[in-house]
């Protein structure tokens, strides 16, 4: 078990944690954050697995992919937040109707 593998496992752990939060929490902001945690998990896997052989210089291609991924994640988060705000202005709610408790 080397360090690279550990980082990749942590990444997978973050992904799973985010997935759990996405399903369990009702507030939309929490769901949006959960998606971001999942994204960070994937980025961590990409960065960690870039070191394909022990000791050698890490492969830069996955790092470039992570940069692209971050740009996408930022725009998706912006859209999600804008939608959430609009939804709250329109209905006063920040949950999906089928997940409301009352």
């Amino acid at each position: 078990m080397n360090a690279v593998f550990l980082y990749a496992l942590v990444g997978i752990g973050l992904f799973t944690l985010g997935l759990y939060a996405l399903i369990v929490y009702r507030h939309l902001l929490r769901k949006i954050l959960a998606i971001n945690v999942m994204g960070s998990g994937v980025f961590m896997v990409l960065v960690a697995l870039a070191a394909r052989t022990q000791g050698a210089t890490p492969d830069p291609v996955p790092h470039a992919m992570v940069l692209t991924g971050i740009v996408i994640a930022v725009s998706a988060t912006a859209l999600a937040l804008a939608l959430m705000l609009r939804l709250r202005a329109e209905t006063g709610r920040t949950e999906f109707p089928e997940e409301r408790l009352e």
């Binding site: 997978i12 992904f15 997935l19 996405l22 939309l28 769901k31 949006i32 998606i35 999942m38 994204g39 998990g41 994937v42 896997v45 990409l46 697995l49 394909r52 492969d59 291609v61 996955p62 992919m65 692209t68 991924g69 996408i72 725009s75 998706a76 859209l79 999600a80 939608l83 959430m84 609009r86 939804l87 329109e90 209905t91 999906f96 109707p97």
Partner: protein, 480 residues
């Protein structure tokens, strides 16, 4: 540079992208500009098609950097069929949207639609799995923004759910990409196809990517987000989503399944087929139960998507061709149906099926379009739907799995039931009169034209079938 060397593949991606920016910057003439760009894309795809027919499958290295470092575009019969389908549906929707959207909505619709078109073309041309992820996200973001155009809380809630589902699906794909890159050091599909070896990482990647793409393709039981999102969007957007956006993630799944995961195991293929079969029946039954026309058509998309997955357990060239044919004819027919529903909604202010109130007398062209599209959805001859079901049936019998054929017939009967239900109400007088508003004639003709495309696909099946075989996307005869 002679005409053979023009990189049409790059043009059909850049043109809508530039068109989106131009449409965004000049809101005054947005509809006309959009239509001109749409025609330009049609010319581009025609050029690309001519190139592919003359010279076979094409590969472009963008900027002269080839794979594995650079980004390649690849076009064969499969990609070309998808591009041509996008152009046909896109032109129809562009004409329709000119009549449908008033000034303020139009200024939002056109740039987003052009971005969506660009993402679709890029997706169908991508030759590497990371690029597929990026285009999938672009497509998802544009599609979500388009759903919100309808305004109101229903559309916002559906859009939000759609966005979260879409992001979840793409992230699962990206994790799969990371695992595949780590295992084989490339994201290029052709290189991966050479290097791929069965290993736990490949199985994990396959599971993640398939799950993500199934979620985005809305295969039963992951279809929960689709009907509200497709039904609450404005009519041209519903047509776009059902005809094109859902198909894009299916296309990626098909590509991966055919090239990167050829070692795909039979149990998983049977599972996909089974889910597809349940989707056909469940979607059909749910469609019958709906009281709103657009919701009904959206559930029918769930059913029709199910047919596409019947090709996985059959795994033969005829089966894949049948699924692709189903995809093309469904795209045309479903566009026509959503346009017809849009016309009825525009005319009467509602889409309650029980209160259609002799709409056939007021909008004869629209109801004709709906009925003709229904012929293709049911799979009656002569229509694209018939050809595709015929091919799937032949594949089922040849592979000795006749039971998949019975699903085709049951699904057809369920479709027939709801098509006749709607048409029956269109002839019946009701208490509630329509508040009737004149429907622009272009909107009626656009719906009829799309329905005619679905029918013509049945009458002239040999051309599209020959087109699909270029570059042998489904493998050699006998290998399947």
């Amino acid at each position: 540079m002679s005409i053979e060397d023009i990189p049409w593949g790059v043009i059909v991606i850049l043109l809508p992208l530039a068109g989106a920016v131009v449409c965004f910057l000049s809101p005054q003439r947005v509809s006309s500009l959009g239509l001109i760009v749409a025609l330009g894309i049609a010319v581009g795809v025609a050029g690309l098609g001519w190139q592919v027919v003359e010279q076979g499958a094409q590969r472009y290295a963008i900027g002269g950097w080839g794979a594995p470092l650079g980004i390649d575009l690849y076009v064969d019969g499969l990609s070309l069929s998808m591009l041509v389908m996008t152009v046909l549906v896109g032109l129809g929707i562009s004409v329709y949207a000119r009549g449908y959207f008033k000034r303020d909505k139009a200024t939002h619709f056109w740039p987003l639609w052009m971005f969506l078109w660009s993402a679709l073309n890029a997706l169908f041309l991508s030759a590497d799995i990371f690029n597929l992820y990026v285009t999938l996200e672009l497509l998802g973001l544009a599609a979500v923004a388009l759903v919100t155009l309808a305004g109101g809380s229903d559309a916002l809630i559906s859009a939000m759910r759609y966005l979260l589902v879409s992001l979840l699906g793409s992230l699962a794909c990206l994790l799969g990409v990371a695992l595949l890159y780590h295992s084989f050091g490339s994201v290029d599909i052709a290189i991966l196809a050479e290097r791929v070896q069965p290993s736990p990482a490949v199985w994990a990647a396959m599971g993640l990517m398939s799950a993500g793409l199934l979620l985005k393709t809305a295969l039963f039981p992951l279809h929960f987000w689709l009907p509200p999102a497709h039904a609450s969007a404005p009519a041209p957007v519903s047509a776009l989503l059902s005809a094109l956006v859902v198909k894009a993630s299916f296309y990626i799944l098909l590509r991966l399944w055919l090239e990167v995961f050829p070692l795909a195991n039979a149990a998983l293929a049977q599972l996909l087929g089974l889910l597809g079969a349940v989707a056909v029946l469940w979607g059909g039954l749910q469609a019958l139960r709906q009281t709103r026309l657009k919701m009904l058509i959206a559930y029918s998309t769930v059913a029709q998507t199910g047919y596409l997955f019947l090709a996985f357990p059959l795994a033969s060239i005829i089966g894949w061709t049948g699924a692709l044919y189903m995809l093309l004819s469904h795209a045309a027919a479903k566009t026509a149906m959503f346009m017809a529903a849009g016309n009825i909604l525009y005319f009467g202010g509602h889409d309650r099926i029980a209160d259609l109130d002799r709409v056939v007398q007021r909008l004869p062209l629209t109801i004709s379009a709906f009925a003709l599209a229904g012929v293709s959805i049911m799979g009656l001859p002569p229509s694209g739907g018939f050809i595709s079901k015929w091919l799937l049936l032949e594949a089922a019998i040849r592979s000795g799995q006749w039971w998949w054929g019975s699903i085709l017939i049951l699904g057809g009967l369920l479709s027939a039931a709801w098509v006749f239900k709607v048409i029956g109400y269109a002839f019946t007088q009701t208490e509630a009169p329509h508040e009737s508003r004149a429907v622009p004639v272009t909107m009626e003709w656009a719906a009829l034209a799309m329905a005619m495309v679905a029918i013509l696909l049945g009458l002239f099946a040999s051309w599209p079938l020959a087109l699909m075989e270029i570059g042998l996307p489904f493998g050699e005869e006998g290998a399947g």
